[in-house]
Symmetry: C2
Subunit: 327 residues, 2 copies
């Protein structure tokens, strides 16, 4: 018929997605159809990116396509789930075929890399925003929850948090060099899917670091406290925080702010019992992702960051929240 239907069909619908494992029907009908794998549970996450809120207005559309899927896949990674498919709801101010083609290029590049076929979508006119919903599978009872941390568990993080926040600063300052590792981390975050799968049966709790390490760790502590009825906390050793070469140019204070409160890294923060440390090394090696032990879960109801002198360090902020300023 007309534009809306053609827009998705032209740029996103591909024969191979309809033939992906478990996909019964992709596109061209009222619903997509997936065939669940026996014994698996379905993990679902949805996230919206709004222009000017979640990404700068001059973000290249291919990077935006990649990132819109990446932030959702990161939620699957944090549950230990394997991607099975996704749907895309794209709201655009006007039909711009070149823009959509480039957006689709980035989106589908990650969809292919993560074996996450796009099975459905909706295109509407309005201010630019992108909502992706992803579906993954995890063996029944093996999902990595936020609520499973216990006092004494080690707190761990993958990769080097803080890079994306530095990348955003540079981007906003006019540096659009895609070869800058910090900027690349901002534009093309890589969801830690392989690590999430390897952490099944190893980690007691897991979350992805989207709003800053301290803020996201606080969710693990809060949900685990709720689940146990205890007042859990966490103690981080600042010297143990992995720091990328990109952050070396900053003062120690500024680097720590990025590492502890910078968002958009999409690393995994998780807890493991002390006796699982060897299994963790195996998991990290299998997933080929660097993992650092940065502290432990406590039972004193506080989240503290300790310097090498043993003194407590207070970050200026703990992360961000879209509506925090209005409240």
């Amino acid at each position: 018929m007309t534009g809306e239907f053609d827009l998705i069909a032209r740029h996103f619908r591909r024969a191979q997605d309809a033939r992906a494992p478990g996909v019964v029907l992709a596109g061209g009908d009222d619903c997509a159809l997936l065939a669940p794998t026996p014994g698996m549970q379905l993990a679902i996450s949805t996230d919206t990116l709004v222009e000017g809120v979640h990404f700068p207005r001059d973000t290249p559309p291919a990077d935006l396509g990649w990132k819109a899927l990446a932030v959702n896949l990161s939620d699957l990674a944090a549950m230990g789930a394997t991607p099975r498919g996704c749907v895309l709801a794209l709201t655009l101010p006007l039909v711009d075929d070149a823009w959509v083609a480039t957006f689709a290029e980035g989106f589908l590049a990650l969809a292919d890399a993560a074996h996450c076929p796009l099975v459905g979508g909706d295109t509407t006119s309005g201010p630019l925003s992108i909502t992706v919903t992803v579906f993954g599978e995890v063996p029944a009872g093996e999902a990595l929850r936020r609520a499973g941390a216990r006092a004494g568990d080690l707190v761990c993080v993958s990769g080097t948090p803080g890079d994306a926040a530095l990348g955003l600063e540079r981007w906003l300052a006019g540096n659009h060099d895609r070869h800058d590792p910090a900027i690349l981390r901002l534009l093309r975050p890589v969801p830690r899917l392989a690590l999430g799968v390897e952490l099944r049966g190893v980690a007691t709790a897991c979350i992805d670091v989207s709003d800053g390490l301290l803020g996201d760790l606080a969710h693990i502590v809060a949900e685990s406290s709720r689940a146990t009825g205890l007042s859990l906390g966490a103690e981080l050793q600042l010297a143990a925080l992995p720091r990328s070469p990109s952050l070396a140019a900053l003062s120690d204070e500024a680097a720590l702010e990025h590492q502890l409160a910078g968002g958009d890294d999409y690393e995994l923060c998780f807890t493991v019992p002390v006796q699982a440390l060897a299994a963790l090394r195996v998991a990290a090696a299998s997933a080929q992702v660097p993992v650092a032990v940065i502290g432990r879960i406590t039972d004193d109801g506080r989240i503290r960051c300790l310097g090498t002198d043993g003194c407590e360090w207070q970050p200026r902020r703990r992360g961000w929240d879209h509506f925090a300023n209005e409240e």
Copy 2:
């Protein structure tokens, strides 16, 4: 922590949703977890409503909450799927607790009526838009597809299409009387879930009428033509079109325009083989939904509307499309 998380927890998270059949985990983690029913396929649909595009700016938030879910459930109905859960991505210009509370009231009222628990969500700041993704289940191989119509099949429709378009006209003209049946149809469409389930094994093809009867029937014809390699068409008898009392005040011409090209009714348009007519009567009676036979599928590649005089009638428009004006 802060506003975003509280907003969903405060207004949408309810203990009973976490205990609904098949729900393993609802809210408070990176993903929701559902337990698929063995032997069932998963039907997925996503739809976005944007202020000023899909609904007038003065739409009451409770009705908006209802409708955002209804348009998605209607896609499940059109596949013959039974709802199992949904996620909500809500973008709001600012935190307005009273607004969200009222929106949630309408949304959850339909979620309860349709046994479709809200299992996850995302709240962001930005221009008002609402994306809902629904999950349903349908026995493997029994989903109602658009592509199954064959020449000679009867074309059917549920209810009385055209009412919602009349309701929109009245609303835009300043009539906000909720007791007006046409306006109620606009504000509170009822997805035909029971009928969809009853049509499994009876209908050969099915679609929900969101963009106007003729335009949506054209999708059945197009997808069925593609599937068969034939050039199918359809012939509708105007006298057979069900017309509600609300449309009686209009001229015959205007009423037909509403019936054939008015959107937002969320009735089902479907095809059945002639020999399934008795089974159709049973299905409609079981679902307690009026169903009318309005024409048949042809093999001449055209969609025609015939008056009582046998002459062809041309509607001014066939439906709408969000981007049609820009192309």
